[in-house]
């Protein structure tokens, strides 16, 4: 395993509704935790990268403002954006800068304060994360886009609403034990009963997806501090190494998507590249974080990552193989569904979970002694995809 670039510090705020502070204060919380985790100060950090999806707060060019508040000036800083996968894209850039020898240590901070705007405004922003010229004029929004995939996938592969419910129940199982999750409640099958008007998860959003199939909006920030081998060994007792990075993109317009029943092509593309670089296969992954912005997205991710054969993702959730004790534990921190999805912070939060797992520091969520972990982070409707593989 190449030991060139390591994660030496991770931090994450509590994911909440209505954070009582501004974006700079939110970002500071995650950065402080990561710096203290790494045992370093701002003086040790050569550059910073800030990541979010635009237009949730009013701050234009947030990198400069946040770098100042975090005490990271006069070092270089800039902004990286791939909507929901922004902070894993930031980590890819940080890796490249360190590997190129430009900097020894780089901090990647993801943040999002979604509660500055209403839910309907948020859906409009997300719809405009797709094609504003040709698709947003129809009134598109994220649940509807993923529902297009769900409808076709379910028809072809025999996946049922019951299978999707099981993904949500699993997420809630771990959201309950993750004190930083926004949704801490359990979810039971009867919460999806369409005949019970009180059932909190059953309401239709965009067919076939229901309230319970959609992830939780949240405010939050994450921070990942990366270092070259020399600094990693100097600062960190338990460096977690980046083994492989893969990334892909796809046509934004639904009219150009090859096969809705197969799932997101970026999942397959990014995974293939990351596995090749890491020199491992799906069988080697002991714990994974996947982008479950909707329940269907987790099933499609199983297949893109090779945890299941195409069309067979349902078998994993039916047999509880993706639970903590299963063959390939997935999203045992609650995932986007329960932990929450503060867009720009999500990738960094997923990375934090895997780093803590590989260090054996994941507390009640700890999987038994994993040595290799994977993060799958998707931006937009499979518009961008990043897969990052970590080893200890």
């Amino acid at each position: 395993m190449a030991k060139d670039v390591a994660v030496i510090g991770v931090g994450q705020t509590y994911f909440v509704r209505g954070y009582e502070g501004s974006i700079r204060e939110l970002a500071f919380e995650a950065f402080r935790e990561a710096a203290q985790d790494a045992g370093i100060t701002q003086k040790n950090i050569g550059a910073s990268i800030f990541c979010s999806a635009p237009e949730y707060d009013k701050q234009r060019s947030p990198a400069g403002v946040l770098a100042e508040y975090l005490g990271l000036i006069p070092q270089p800083t800039f902004y990286i954006e791939t909507v929901c996968s922004s902070s894993s894209s930031g980590v890819k850039v940080a890796y490249s800068m360190i590997k190129a020898g430009l900097h020894d240590v780089v901090a990647v901070v993801g943040f999002q304060k979604m509660s500055e705007i209403t839910s309907a405004e948020s859906q409009e922003r997300m719809g405009r994360g797709a094609d504003i010229q040709w698709e947003a004029p129809f009134g598109t929004m994220m649940p509807a886009y993923y529902a297009l995939y769900a409808q076709a996938y379910m028809a072809k592969n025999g996946l049922t609403l019951d299978d999707l419910m099981k993904v949500r129940v699993k997420a809630a199982t771990y959201g309950q034990i993750n004190e930083r999750a926004v949704y801490r409640k359990g979810v039971k099958p009867e919460d999806f009963d369409p005949n019970n008007p009180e059932a909190k998860m059953a309401g239709p959003v965009a067919s076939p997806l229901r309230v319970g199939d959609c992830c939780a909006n949240a405010d939050g920030a994450s921070c990942v501090i990366l270092a070259n081998a020399e600094k990693a060994k100097a600062f960190s007792k338990k460096p977690v190494w980046i083994m492989g990075i893969g990334a892909a993109s796809e046509a934004v317009n639904m009219a150009a998507r090859p096969d809705f029943a197969k799932g997101l092509s970026v999942g397959y593309g990014a995974a293939a590249e990351a596995y090749k670089m890491a020199g491992v296969t799906a069988k080697d992954i002991k714990v994974a974080e996947v982008h479950d912005c909707f329940t269907i997205a987790e099933i499609m991710a199983y297949e893109g990552l090779g945890f299941a054969k195409p069309g067979d993702g349902k078998a994993l959730i039916q047999a509880k193989e993706t639970y903590k004790e299963g063959r390939i534990p997935v999203n045992v921190d609650g995932g986007l569904l329960s932990k929450g999805h503060p867009i720009g912070a999500t990738g960094g939060s997923q990375i934090r979970t895997i780093v803590l797992q590989l260090r054996g520091e994941a507390g009640p969520m700890q999987v038994k002694d994993p040595d290799i972990g994977l993060v799958h982070n998707v931006g937009g409707v499979g518009l961008y995809g990043n897969v990052t593989i970590f080893g200890r």
Partner: protein, 137 residues
């Protein structure tokens, strides 16, 4: 005419493909085809990504296709609040570019099925906005 008249609500004022809206007003749903290499595009493009040409013709989208997938939205984003429920879908013409649009309001939601035969027609809203929609073939 600018592109602000396109769709339920447009987010783009100007595009070199704004003639698309004039063609809709004339009753035609057209994509663009490259004069040099013949590549076809829907939605239309002003520039050919296959050969870098900027000389494009218009072509009629096929009359017959099948519904590849769909969803009925019960909620709408900001600015579309008056519309739900509405169904959006993707038409597969068998070859060439697919097409994304809303399905006509007069199709019963329970009658919408993957694989059903569909076609496409222009649509004028009461407020003057111009779009296109998927209808039963």
């Amino acid at each position: 005419m600018g592109f602000e008249k396109f769709g339920r609500r447009s987010f783009t004022a100007m595009t070199k493909t704004a003639k698309f809206v004039d063609l809709l007003a004339e009753g035609k749903v057209e994509g663009s085809a490259c004069k040099k290499c013949g590549a076809k595009f829907f939605p239309p493009r002003a520039d050919c990504a296959a050969c870098f040409s900027k000389e494009m013709d218009w072509y009629d989208v096929p009359k017959k296709g099948t519904l590849e997938t769909f969803t009925t939205a019960q909620y709408a984003p900001f600015g579309f609040e008056a519309d739900p429920p509405y169904t959006m879908g993707v038409v597969n013409f068998g070859e060439g570019p697919k097409l994304f649009a809303r399905l006509a309001k007069d199709i019963k939601i329970e009658d919408i099925k993957i694989g059903m035969d569909v076609t496409v027609r222009p649509l004028k809203y009461e407020d003057g906005q111009i779009s296109f929609e998927i209808i039963k073939a």
